[in-house]
């Protein structure tokens, strides 16, 4: 009896020690992960002379927020931001709506060819996007004459919003009890009515996740932006930043200002949707 109690107490103590060790490790790792971001930020607030000093300083000697004003003269962030948003807003809306419709059909409706369509959909998830890049480029620029416009970057998102997102919405809808649908059917509601009055209100968080994922995906899609956009008035943040870096080889302080400015929109959107985000991503990893 005594021994058992003792071992129980020691187990509790072990557990506590393990938790403290984990906490310390997590703090250290979090600091390491944040260090690059801090270093980029701190560099944006220093002069180039200060940057090229040895040993480097961890804190900026003077916090030169005026660097940002100077960088904005050569780096028209707001123009790039507006251009980027001109792509992202319609694409995200289109992608979220069409992914939701698709996810609803696969989760709740019975129709001939469902299995086949679903496997085509999942199959396309395994198909690397770079493989189809060239035929699509030919189609958009030669077939539809849309070179140097935003259409090739926007329109694809009105065509399903990506298999992954359809799948995510489907997973989410599967967690809603079917009894709700059935009750509504008995009350005479049609399938669209069920979608709007039962399904949509319960999958708001999934739709926010899809919107955020699409946002990140488009934000990061440097390759497609580079092949479709040619004139500098149409540049997105990503292309603008790459041009800016190319033209200012070693003005690191200005480059870091531009880099930090490009960080901000992503961080803001993430902080807004953070709660839903974690929830939603988690569901994508679940077994179907």
């Amino acid at each position: 009896m005594m021994r058992r109690e003792k071992s129980f107490a020691s187990k509790k103590r072990n557990e506590k020690v393990a938790n403290i060790v984990s906490l310390v490790l997590v703090i250290i790792l979090a600091l390491i992960v944040m260090l690059p971001i801090w270093w980029i930020f701190r560099s944006s607030l220093m002069t180039n002379a200060e940057l090229f000093q040895w040993p480097p300083k961890f804190l900026p000697p003077n916090w030169l927020f005026s660097n940002y004003k100077d960088a904005l003269v050569y780096f028209p962030f707001w123009d790039y931001f507006r251009n980027t948003m001109t792509i992202i807003i319609p694409a995200v809306i289109g992608g979220t709506i069409t992914a939701t419709l698709g996810g609803y059909a696969f989760a709740r409706l019975r129709f001939p060819g469902k299995k086949f369509l679903f496997s085509l959909c999942v199959g396309s998830m395994l198909l690397p996007t770079m493989v189809t890049l060239i035929p699509l480029y030919i189609m958009w620029t030669r077939g539809f004459h849309m070179a140097d416009t935003y259409w090739p970057l926007i329109l694809p998102y009105f065509c399903g919003g990506g298999a992954f997102n359809i799948f995510l919405i489907r997973q989410f809808i599967n967690t809603i009890p079917r009894e709700l649908d059935e009750a509504a059917t008995i009350d005479g509601a049609g399938k669209f009515r069920i979608l709007f009055s039962i399904i949509l209100p319960s999958i708001k968080s999934a739709m926010i996740v899809v919107a955020l994922l699409l946002f990140i995906q488009i934000w990061n899609d440097l390759l497609q932006q580079m092949i479709y956009i040619n004139t500098s008035e149409n540049f997105t943040i990503a292309i603008g930043l790459s041009q800016f870096k190319g033209s200012l080889k070693s003005d690191w302080s200005a480059i870091m200002c531009a880099t930090c400015m490009s960080f901000i929109p992503g961080i803001v959107f993430y902080l807004i949707g953070q709660k839903y985000f974690v929830e939603g991503i988690a569901l994508t990893g679940m077994k179907n």
Partner: protein, 302 residues
């Protein structure tokens, strides 16, 4: 009789609704996915440089790729090398972080947000920011090395270190894997752990024989997605290295990009795209084929 008619009508209605909902996706699947895939194969068997009518050349592009092309074979090696380092690195990193975050520690949500943050930053900015960290004389990493008494390294400016350096950025960016792992860990049934504990299993044994087997489906999913993403790697070359130094970061996608959009050799680039499709396909099939041996499915599901 009437009732039967009504259910039939309802089914018809349901089918109609389903197809209306799926019209966008069907258009996307046909015209943006599977037709282009067929077009890649078709175009790769021709010679076409952006003007005129494609001329049929059979497998000439493929033969040229594997025999005389100065970049292609090396680009396969570099891409596989990068993918392996990046995938293994990010899997270990994100599983370790997820295991730590799964313990009872304060401010878990905050730490999860911290580790996830790099993933939401725009890739272009990330690579440019890191290029400053990797700077040969005044960069952060060389400063840290100098504090440890190690000689300065050239990182992305050195042909030996460029791939591991870029893979390290990929690991740093893998916050989404952490969140998926974490969700999986929270679904490991508690009773298994309790049972193992009663049987006297220690922490490591519980991890090895309870946590890990329960996590295998999620490990598989993350592995597959990370592999497909990293095999297509192109952004670091576009943003930072332009394939260099030498050819040491000239990834398959970058070679394809250059042939198609810099030299206008569209059909030749299509052959590259199709080979990379087959390559990724082979890895996917291998993963699926071996998965039966190591994925543990809880008590006879499905």
């Amino acid at each position: 009789m009437q009732k039967q008619y009504k259910t039939k009508k309802m089914h018809k209605n349901e089918t109609l609704v389903a197809y209306i909902c799926l019209i966008p996706s069907i258009i996307g699947l046909i015209f943006l996915t599977y037709v282009p895939l067929a077009a890649v194969l078709g175009l790769s068997l021709t010679k076409w440089e952006g003007v005129g009518i494609p001329e049929w050349v059979g497998f000439a592009n493929y033969i040229k790729l594997f025999t005389t092309d100065p970049y292609f074979v090396d680009s396969i090696k570099v891409t596989i090398y990068f993918s392996f380092v990046a995938v293994i690195g990010s899997m270990i990193y994100s599983l370790a972080i997820a295991l730590l975050l799964n313990r009872k520690i304060p401010a878990r949500g905050f730490f999860r947000a911290v580790f996830y943050l790099p993933y939401v930053l725009p890739a272009m900015a990330v690579y440019i920011g890191w290029s400053w960290l990797y700077e040969a004389n005044f960069g952060l990493f060389n400063y840290i090395l100098s504090l440890l008494g190690i000689h300065k390294l050239k990182f992305i400016a050195s042909s030996e270190l460029v791939v591991p350096s870029l893979a390290l950025i990929a690991v740093w960016l893998s916050g989404n894997l952490i969140v998926i792992f974490l969700a999986g860990l929270q679904n490991v049934p508690k009773v298994y752990h309790e049972a193992a504990e009663i049987d006297g299993a220690n922490g490591w044994q519980r991890f090895r024989h309870v946590t890990l087997p329960c996590m295998t489906p999620i490990i598989f999913y993350n592995l597959l997605m990370a592999l497909i993403t990293n095999m297509q790697v192109v952004t670091p070359a576009l943003a930072l290295t332009q394939g260099g130094p030498g050819n040491s970061s000239r990834f398959i996608s970058y070679v394809m990009y250059q042939y198609a959009f810099k030299s206008g050799k569209f059909s030749y680039a299509c052959a590259i795209a199709f080979v990379s499709f087959l390559l990724i396909g082979v890895f996917t099939v291998i993963l699926f084929a071996t998965s039966k041996n190591w994925i543990f499915y809880e008590g006879g599901e499905e």
